[in-house]
Subunit: 342 residues, 2 copies
């Protein structure tokens, strides 16, 4: 991803909410990355402590965390997201240091931001930056989260270029007043399938660091590209229904699910050996989760290969949510490495 | 619940996986409770540290945690769950202190345990206790988790009494060989709606301490009985679609959902004031969750009452999973109280 960014001459500001790890952050540093994105103030603190000096908190500014934001803004180059005059004015009145402010644009995902076609409201907010001292308008930031529901690569591309056309028009409108205006985009599906990042100034994908079954199901990656699995103890075997019970439940995986061929599942079985995993020729799914238990549906052949007291691997449906629940990773080199866990 | 247990002359061993809190545990102690249930070895350690001397780990014994189980068994009266000869023999060979062993019976939930109609396999396992020194057969333990899918109180009662008939027959078969044989049952739906605990020796409900929308939707409690809510900052308002965005996502709530009238939701809005909450006359639901964001669908009237920068309350769909994600509770007395958070 870094190579693609450099080749396209765009800034690479990877989202670290997926891995939340100093060590994995250091791998990015080795690739020349010097800025990052996070989804919470606490996560920004965690990476600032590790020496990262340029962080965007890609979540609408939470007025109740202004004290912590002030601390951060004193120490590092900080960007925040704003989508209303009220919050912008509050930030200007409360901040003691300068921050970069991205205006969040809703490009069709309908989660946060000013709708991209509401030019009037966007314009009113941009005008409010005039005379502001602490809040420096930085550009427009969007997240095409609706690519996660795309049914083909073509649809992902269509969403991306459609969004981009409108963002380019916005940029053209304000570039004279704000010569450094940045267009920041960043969902993993688009950034993975596109090779051409023309007209974008900055990309912020995050999930690609691990990928997961949601992404492989979208054809954004192969299952072989998934870079994280959960190691789960096998605690019971039920031969009458070809099921095993693992120590791994909703509190370990999250309850994010996928539905394929009318089958809902929460993960997929891989075999663990020597700190590596092997993808099986057949698909066996984690079909049920309670607080601590998970149930994997096997068949007659497979159940004989699994031992109570052993470990199995599970590829997660949504790696960000699964990784979030844990304090440590175990690397292939069998080293334990800590992660953010507030 | 304690009163009901004492009145019925049954042992009360509440499940503490719902609250996971020393302070809430102390409220049980004040009611005369001296034994409890947990769902993990770490949770048992957490409560043992707080002076609880009699704990059942209601999860199939995980052979990979035998060192920690040994530590606990040295310090307190510990009960574990077993459902196979292999694990029983392993426990007998590995333990240095005596533990009570419940045989887990599957009464129709099909998660763990020996199917209650498989008398042959149950008998084989019971016979294995003969000559065991560390593993003391304690009784039969079951969890009627399928009551969570019942469509009426009547159905909950039917599941309970159907199970109980079969468990009574099992008890009758083995009571001479094991005069202290305990029948332990414990789902919150049954324990809440029943008043007659005849023929049970021990009950282990947990969720009732908070209840949640899943339980009120089952008519097991009223919404007014729900005793925990999440306080979430409002970070954005979208009047065009009558939605607000809260700081409260999948990592804070879990992604457990409920479906009522074809509407999927993850929580329900209540108003927060003075450390109390008020149930609203109309239902407004948390309809969407991403990692950190939640979206609440309001109407024109309600959206005008909500302020960006303020707090709203959300009743959780599944209080056990939501509470698990947090380190602290705030009580009505405005005191912060720590909880288990490994």
């Amino acid at each position: 991803m870094a190579e693609k960014a450099w080749k396209n001459n765009v800034e690479f500001r990877p989202h670290f909410k997926t891995h939340q790890s100093h060590e994995i952050g250091s791998w990015f540093r080795e690739c020349g990355v010097d800025k990052l994105t996070v989804s919470s103030v606490q996560m920004a603190q965690y990476f600032a402590e590790d020496g990262w000096g340029n962080i965007t908190i890609a979540f609408p500014l939470n007025m109740l965390e202004i004290a912590e934001i002030n601390e951060l803004a004193k120490a590092i180059t900080l960007n925040v997201l704003v989508e209303s005059k009220k919050v912008l004015q509050f930030a200007e009145d409360s901040l003691q240091s300068k921050v970069g402010v991205f205006v969040k644009i809703d490009t069709g995902y309908h989660r946060t931001g000013i709708p991209i076609d509401n030019l009037d409201e966007i314009d009113k907010l941009i005008k409010c930056f005039s005379g502001k001292n602490k809040c420096q308008f930085k550009g427009f930031l969007a997240h095409n989260g609706h690519t996660y529901k795309a049914s083909s690569i073509k649809e992902i591309e269509r969403i991306h270029f459609n969004t981009l056309d409108k963002l380019k028009a916005l940029k053209a409108k304000y570039i004279q007043a704000f010569p450094n205006l940045t267009l920041s985009l960043g969902d993993t599906p688009s950034m993975s399938v596109l090779n051409d990042f023309r007209d974008i100034d900055e990309i912020r994908p995050g999930n690609f660091v691990f990928y997961d079954l949601m992404q492989s199901n979208l054809d954004v990656c192969l299952e072989e590209d998934i870079a994280v699995a959960m190691a789960c103890p096998v605690v019971a075997k039920h031969k009458d229904r070809n099921q095993i019970v693992i120590y791994g439940g909703g509190v370990h995986f999250s309850k994010e699910s996928l539905k394929i061929n009318d089958q809902i599942f929460f993960g997929k079985l891989v075999l663990l050996e020597n700190n590596m995993w092997t993808i099986l020729p057949r698909s066996y799914y984690l079909t049920s989760l309670s607080q601590e238990h998970g149930i994997i549906q096997l068949d007659k052949m497979m159940i004989n290969k699994i031992t109570v007291g052993g470990l199995v691997g599970i590829l997660p449906v949504h790696s960000c949510l699964t990784a979030d629940k844990h304090k440590f990773y175990l690397t292939e080199a069998s080293q334990t490495t800590k992660k953010f866990h507030p």
